[in-house]
């Protein structure tokens, strides 16, 4: 193994590296958002970029999400490739018109004659008692509305490949990274997210899920932080003699229904893990993707481990009670087996 093959990066560093490499070869790529300059992004994913590229291309913005996300749409349509950061996905409420009525629809409204090559990166997830306006995932909200590709990496290798792919895509890509996977110690850090990342640029196919653990008894399907919970649950289940397969969706839009169906066809059982709210969301979509296609592959009713339909509570005991975790996944398996 060469030194390059050995190095491990956090997701934050992988995102920054991908952005820097793309900016070196493509002068139309620029970054804007709140605190992405001197601070290097609240979640570290623009660290070092200001020093290399300067304030013209690494552009701190006022706290004006409607304006700068709308401006990114205009710049993208005019030949640039903006990367914009919405610091917390929870802040979407102040700027959603720019996102879903402009960014997501202008390609369609132009009959495909316009391109909107922009990346909207945003942080998701809770677990550190930051309260109900700074802890949501909102995967379902973004994935529900047509016209935006949506990706959510669970590790640094995927994070770099997705970032490069997103910047090269001619459609808008919403890049949702989980705070607890960024490798920022102050948020607590999932060690499994920090993995080997090649130095050279590469892309990951948007819309392609990964089987990250092979198994034959049950498919556990998730994204982002949920993948790590699923892997921990799979390990616990293994001790009980249960062989769990774990599917990392990687992309929510397009959704790789084929990989999900193939996995469930093999195992006959499905548990979906989602840190977003339970109802009207990702978990229902995954289950529908299987059942509406061929319900006979299921040997048991599918299960969901998701955030209950309540705002994210602040107090740690209440938040932890609501969050998905490996124990809840194991419990879902036990329920399924008992049924």
């Amino acid at each position: 193994m060469t030194k390059s093959n050995e190095r491990k990066l956090t997701i934050a560093r992988a995102m920054a590296e991908a952005t820097a490499q793309e900016m070196r070869i493509d002068p139309t790529v620029f970054v804007m958002g709140e605190d992405i300059g001197a601070l290097g992004g609240v979640y570290g994913n623009t660290r070092g970029l200001l020093d290399e590229f300067g304030a013209e291309r690494i552009r701190d913005t006022p706290i004006s999400e409607t304006a700068f996300i709308g401006a990114a749409v205009g710049a993208a349509q005019d030949g640039m490739r903006p990367v914009v950061e919405l610091m917390f996905v929870d802040f979407f409420g102040v700027c959603f018109d720019a996102i879903y009525n402009l960014m997501a629809k202008n390609i369609y409204f132009s009959g495909g004659n316009l391109k909107v090559p922009m990346v909207l990166m945003t942080s998701t997830g809770g677990g550190y008692s930051d309260g109900g306006q700074h802890s949501q995932c909102l995967y379902g909200t973004f994935a529900h509305l047509p016209g935006m590709k949506v990706v959510a990496p669970s590790n640094a290798y995927d994070a770099k490949g997705l970032m490069t792919a997103a910047m090269r895509d001619d459609s808008p890509v919403v890049y949702m990274y989980h705070k607890g996977l960024q490798g920022m110690g102050w948020l607590g850090t999932e060690a499994g997210a920090t993995v080997h990342v090649p130095e050279e640029p590469y892309t990951l196919e948007i819309g392609k899920a990964k089987v990250v653990r092979e198994g034959k008894d049950v498919s556990i399907v998730s994204v982002g932080m949920g993948v790590h919970n699923a892997l921990k649950a799979a390990k616990a289940l293994e001790a009980q003699g249960v062989s769990a397969e774990v599917v990392d969706l990687v992309s929510l839009v397009p959704l790789d229904r084929e990989t999900i169906r193939a996995s469930v066809a093999k195992t006959g059982r499905l548990i979906v893990v989602d840190e977003d709210y339970m109802s009207y969301g990702l978990s229902g979509e995954i289950i529908a993707s299987v059942t509406e296609h061929n319900i006979s592959v299921l040997k048991a009713a599918p299960k969901r481990v998701a955030f209950p339909d309540v705002p994210i509570p602040y107090a740690r005991v209440m938040e932890q009670f609501c969050l998905p975790n490996p124990d809840k996944i194991v419990a879902a398996w036990n329920d399924m087996k008992a049924a």
Partner: protein, 329 residues
């Protein structure tokens, strides 16, 4: 318009209470968070935004308010909450995430709600504006007394929602006052890089309402400017805008290394601390004796200690309480 001696004592008491409260919170905040800083650990988890240095704005404005008046505060709300009379025990317990907290631990530090004194806040920049304007509208429509005050930071004035709410307040002639705490920094971005005009008081002209800037973090000057604006609102003469040139003595949040600050910017900042300045002024003006101030300080300290003790000793919520209070009972 100058504060009475009683009001001066009230202002000083609340400034000191706020400062002692935040100093105590700051100390406890790092319990369990070292050597490696992890925001999720310790008795006070999550982000923590302190208002040290900005106390004069809260007391200068709230000295004119009664519990029936409405205040919407920011993500940096402690000084505003204390000055508005939010129950300190329940507020401390909320910050500790306890069942005795204002919301039973559901809201947390950025989402303090006290219906008894009409206080609310939001962790989303500028989003106190709409609700404050709505409260002012409601008062006007119902013929109820009271004014609504929205505190915002100078960064919030670049949000669309701020401008829309200001226009509504003006076009409907509502009993509303917007108070901007200009601490010159939106997290790491300097105001000069984010705001097209040097001061925000001039933006009042866009809505045809009075705009005032208080140069300096002076509780007496703030008291005077707020008094005029609130009197105008109470008299049915419509909204006003006040901007105060204040500063935060600490970073944006606990743990902020402030690497974005130009070197030397904080030099001398502690010499501008408004609390010793007010203390000296009260003594110089003969508005309070050394003994009276010492009593006020001791009482404030005891009040904070009691609140923190109450919070620490209160029970955690039951985990499944998370599922309740989603809808009105």
């Amino acid at each position: 318009m100058a504060p009475t001696q009683k009001e001066q004592h009230w202002m000083y008491r609340n400034m000191v209470t706020s400062r002692r409260f935040e100093e105590t919170i700051a100390k406890i905040y790092f319990e369990g968070k070292s050597p490696a800083f992890n925001m999720a650990n310790g008795p006070i988890p999550g982000e923590m935004h302190l208002s040290d240095g900005q106390e004069p704005v809260a007391v200068g404005v709230c000295a004119h308010l009664t519990p029936e008046d409405v205040v919407t505060a920011t993500h940096r709300p402690h000084h505003q909450a204390i000055a508005k009379g939010v129950d300190l025990d329940k507020m401390a317990a909320e910050i500790f995430g306890k069942t005795t907290g204002l919301s039973g631990g559901r809201g947390g530090h950025m989402h303090l709600f006290d219906a008894d004194v009409n206080f609310a806040c939001s962790g989303i920049i500028a989003q106190g504006m709409g609700p404050a304007v709505g409260a002012a509208l409601s008062r006007k429509m119902q013929g109820k007394p009271g004014v609504a005050v929205a505190f915002v930071g100078e960064g919030a004035v670049n949000q669309g929602g701020w401008h829309e709410a200001m226009n509504l307040a003006a076009v409907w002639n509502l009993p509303f006052v917007c108070v901007i705490e200009d601490n010159a920094w939106g997290i790491s971005v300097a105001k000069s890089a984010a705001t097209a005009v040097p001061t925000n008081d001039v933006r009042a002209a866009a809505y045809g309402i009075p705009g005032t800037r208080v140069e300096g973090n002076d509780p007496f000057a703030i008291y005077e400017a707020a008094g005029k604006a609130i009197e105008r609102a109470r008299n049915g003469e419509g909204p006003s805008l006040i901007e105060v040139d204040t500063y935060r003595l600490a970073g944006h949040f606990m743990g902020d290394a402030e690497g974005y600050r130009p070197e030397g910017e904080k030099d001398g900042l502690s010499a501008k601390d408004p609390i010793p300045a007010m203390r000296a002024r009260l003594l110089k003006d003969g508005a309070a004796s050394e003994e009276e101030l010492a009593t006020i300080e001791a009482e404030a300290e005891a009040r904070v200690e009691a609140a923190i003790k109450f919070a620490r000793e209160s029970a955690d919520p039951a985990p499944e309480d998370a599922l309740t209070a989603v809808f009105a009972a």
